[in-house]
């Protein structure tokens, strides 16, 4: 399982990648939408965890562009927005949102369910 984490908050995303790695998950980081698209050219990621608000390119725009490169990739959105916290339940567009600060166990469970909906 290859995970791509994208957020302009570099300390947050680096620490998250480290914690996922300690739990045996393979996570790459990108600090912008453009960097994420570059990485996706070289690596067939299974899932991307995207910050919604980033300078230059929003998480939603990045989702559309990543899907052009990797049609099977799945998504989880992470947000600091106060009113969006659906505890991992998909919305009408089948997008899943998790609120910051994250719970690492919730994130891992959501990643697994996203990649294996039958679990």
């Amino acid at each position: 399982m290859k995970i791509l984490l994208v957020d302009d908050e570099t300390k947050f995303i680096n620490m998250l990648a480290r914690r996922l790695s300690l739990r045996g998950l393979d996570a790459d980081v990108a600090y912008s939408g453009d960097q994420a698209l570059e990485k996706a050219v070289r690596t067939p990621y299974d899932i991307a965890v995207l910050d919604m608000k980033m300078p230059g390119m929003s998480g939603f725009t990045l989702k559309k562009k990543l899907l052009d490169q990797l049609p099977d990739i799945k998504f989880i959105f992470v947000t600091g927005h106060g009113t969006i916290d659906q505890n991992g339940i998909p919305d009408q567009f089948d997008d899943i949102f998790l609120a910051k600060p994250l719970n690492i166990d919730t994130l891992i469970e959501t990643i697994r369910k996203r990649l294996n909906p039958d679990l």
Binding site: F12, R19, P55, S58, H81, G82, A99, K100, P101
Partner: protein
């Protein structure tokens, strides 16, 4: 407060207050997210240590430094929130315009489309008698509109100038004229009208000229 200015505070003010506070809370959530992940990582290291695994002790130092940095960032954000909250204390006040600009630069810095902005230190002592809250709203919305007309690597410079004794001019300069399509927000025009502020498009950006004293606002209340 004149009825028009008073209406503006009530109609636009609450919305402006809300949107600024939303961006501040977003910033604070990011700070808490970093502290939370760092604390979680420290817990991970503790568990590894309990299992007899060794790790580089510099990791602990990095974590504690990171937490301290984020706490300082949080305090700075809360200082700005507090300063912004107090901008409604006096309906009209002698206002150091440099302070208003500095706060607007920091508050708009939380927006995802913000651009690198440098505030020229000259003109630090210049004051105007105006509504500090409406002025803050006007400058915030002006900066937001300019950011949207700039590319991601562009830089904006803000300078205060005094061309005549009765007015103060804020110069928003970068490398090209602003795109007028980003100034279609009627709220900006409404604010400028009440504050008697005049926008002028230039080859390198935009100027905003404010009266040194807005006589129409004088009967609003205290002038500190």
């Amino acid at each position: 407060m004149t009825s028009r200015a008073s209406d503006l505070v009530h109609n636009q003010g609450l919305q402006f207050f809300g949107s600024v506070n939303a961006s501040i809370s977003h910033e604070l959530k990011n700070i808490f997210a970093i502290i939370s992940e760092t604390a979680g990582f420290l817990n991970d290291l503790t568990q590894l240590s309990k299992q007899g695994q060794t790790f580089d002790l510099s990791l602990l130092e990095n974590c504690s430094n990171s937490i301290a940095e984020e706490i300082e960032r949080g305090f700075d954000t809360i200082r700005q929130m507090n300063q912004f909250a107090h901008s409604v204390d006096d309906p009209v006040k002698e206002t150091r315009i440099h302070d208003t600009l500095a706060l607007a630069v920091k508050l708009t810095g939380f927006l995802s489309f913000a651009r690198k902005t440098r505030l020229d230190p000259s003109g630090n002592g210049i004051t105007v008698v105006t509504s500090p809250f409406l002025l803050q709203a006007l400058i915030y919305r002006t900066l937001s509109a300019i950011y949207q007309s700039l590319d991601i690597g562009d830089e904006l410079t803000l300078t205060l100038q005094e061309f005549d004794p009765s007015s103060v001019t804020l110069v928003f300069s970068h490398d090209r004229p602003v795109d007028p399509s980003h100034f279609s927000d009627l709220r900006v025009a409404e604010l400028a009208d009440v504050l008697k502020a005049v926008f002028t498009k230039t080859d390198t950006g935009l100027t905003l000229t404010l009266p040194r004293e807005n006589i129409d606002l004088k009967d609003l209340g205290s002038v500190g």
